[in-house]
Amino acid sequence: MTVKAIRLAQQDNVATLLSDALKHQAVDVIDDKNRLVGRYQALQAIPFGNKMALHAIASGQPVSKAGHAIGVAISAIPAGELVHVQNVRSQRLDIPPAIIGQIIDQMRIETE
């Protein structure tokens, strides 16, 4: 079965996974009206509720979800990659580095 992800606003550069995606698995991205807007390949495992890049996001570029910036990319993020604490930072109140480490460990996020 194809994994689905939802893009909450048209200008978003991420979509939220509606179930777990395995590495290299195909992900159908839908919009908030249930219309298919594209098929992507997950470059790494992305758990349910997490975000996948829909376009290449350059380092320093805002990450947009539901029409608003939720943070800034701290490295180049290719389309299909997990967008999360390992490659995004808050512009308002950062999570302490030790906690980020714990999140990466707990989620077994693949980082180069």
């Binding site: 939220t16 509606l18 249930n34 509720g49 990450v63 939720i70 512009q91 109140l93």
Partner: protein, 392 residues
């Protein structure tokens, strides 16, 4: 969207969707007596001041108790106090009397103690129930409805399913002439620029920003730092505080923000015109329920992963998008959004249908269970001084 609901008109013109008798235990030591009365008069709901029986510095709390008594879902009020505390029941009774609402008082020490007070309390409560029974129920315009909006027990599904669904329902309600009020300013840290654009005036925008900043300060005094992002939030998929806040913001819809309502030692700010409002409601569920009661909301829309917050005065409609946590406690199941089988619009329609039934008298999923705990919450006045919170 329906244009009317079934309501009980109060002497001051407000309209309730329930016809409760409220017992207020002004001092925590009167709680047992309040419960004993309720055991014999099941139409009663109870609010207990668990905070303190002392007055000084607790004006905000007294205002919330008074506001709760004035809530339009309340038909009559029985005030219980022990008699040795310093909160004078007259402070609460007077505004209720001025609103034309029946109020009875019982001071336990003066009334020869616990058993006699229970007997007399039962008689007074029954008298209030009989008075309430004479109030007719009649169709009322939707413009008389004030809906509280709150999230709690949030998880990954909240920002994607229940909050957006409720947000669209809120927009539809405002468009139909009703009013809504959402709170939890601490959950909106990072949303200031969006909220500024939604504010009806620069003055409201400034007030909003200042109040969010004060709430941030209040919860981040060194040594008492609150967890704004938990590891669980992040493992669930939230990357930044902004993302969490934007998820919470969804439930407020998109309509212009008329004002930020405050409950302060000086009084309670209530909506002056129909529309969308924010309030200073705490993010802590129990306290927020009482805050919404004091603001005069008749019903609360509550988005959740799968928990079950309730309030005895204001019915709470629970909306969840987490298929694994849907139980008989959940009123509206919007998990179809998560499985991509239901659109946000369809889910908003389900929320409005349920709201329509509840404001016409149908009980919420756990309303008939009757008991719900009620916390009176107030800002610590010492902390207010410490952070130099701006007085009203």
């Amino acid at each position: 969207m329906k244009q009317e609901f079934q309501g009980y008109r109060r002497p001051n013109g407000q309209v309730g969707i329930r016809n409760h008798i409220l017992i207020i235990a002004i001092d925590e030591c009167a709680e047992g007596i309040a419960q004993a009365v309720r055991q014999q008069v099941s139409e009663c709901v109870i609010v207990t001041n668990h905070y303190t029986c002392m007055y000084a510095g607790n004006e905000e709390l007294v205002n919330i108790m008074t506001g709760a008594a004035l809530n339009p879902n309340v038909a009559g009020v029985l005030l219980l106090n022990m008699g040795c505390g310093s909160i004078d029941p007259t402070l609460i009774a007077t505004p209720i009397e001025q609103a034309g609402k029946p109020v009875r008082r019982l001071s336990i020490i003066r009334n020869k103690g616990t058993r006699q007070s229970i007997r007399d309390g039962v008689a007074l409560a029954k008298e209030l129930v009989a008075l309430a029974a004479t109030i007719p129920i009649a169709p009322v315009a939707l413009s008389e409805l004030l809906v509280g909006v709150k999230c709690g027990g949030s998880d990954t599904s909240s920002g994607i399913a229940s909050n957006p669904a409720v947000g669209r329902a809120v927009d539809a309600l405002v468009d139909a002439g009703a009013s809504c009020v959402a709170g939890e300013l601490i959950e909106l840290i990072g949303c200031e620029s969006i909220l500024r654009q939604r504010a009806v005036s620069p003055a409201v925008a400034d007030k909003l920003e200042r109040l969010i900043q004060e709430e941030e300060q209040r919860w981040h005094v060194p040594g008492t730092e609150v967890e704004t992002m938990s590891i669980g939030n992040s493992v669930g998929g939230l990357t930044t505080l902004e993302e969490k806040a934007l998820g919470a913001l969804h439930k407020t819809g998109t309509r212009p923000i008329q004002d930020v309502l405050r409950i302060t030692p000086q009084g309670i700010e209530t909506p002056k015109a129909p529309g969308m409002y924010l309030s200073e409601t705490t993010h802590l569920c129990g306290g927020s329920g009482m805050h919404f009661a004091a603001l005069g909301t008749q019903v609360i829309l509550w988005t959740t992963g799968g928990a079950g917050f309730s309030n005895p005065i204001v019915p709470v409609i629970r909306v969840s998008g987490n298929a694994l946590l849907i139980t008989e406690d959940i009123d509206v199941d919007v998990s179809g959004i998560m499985s991509a089988t239901q659109s946000v619009e369809q889910a908003a329609g389900d929320v409005l249908d349920c709201l329509g039934r509840v404001i016409d008298g149908e009980q919420t999923a756990i309303e008939e269970v009757g008991f719900a705990y009620c916390s009176l919450y107030q800002k610590d006045q010492r902390l207010e001084t410490l952070i130099h919170a701006q007085p009203v």
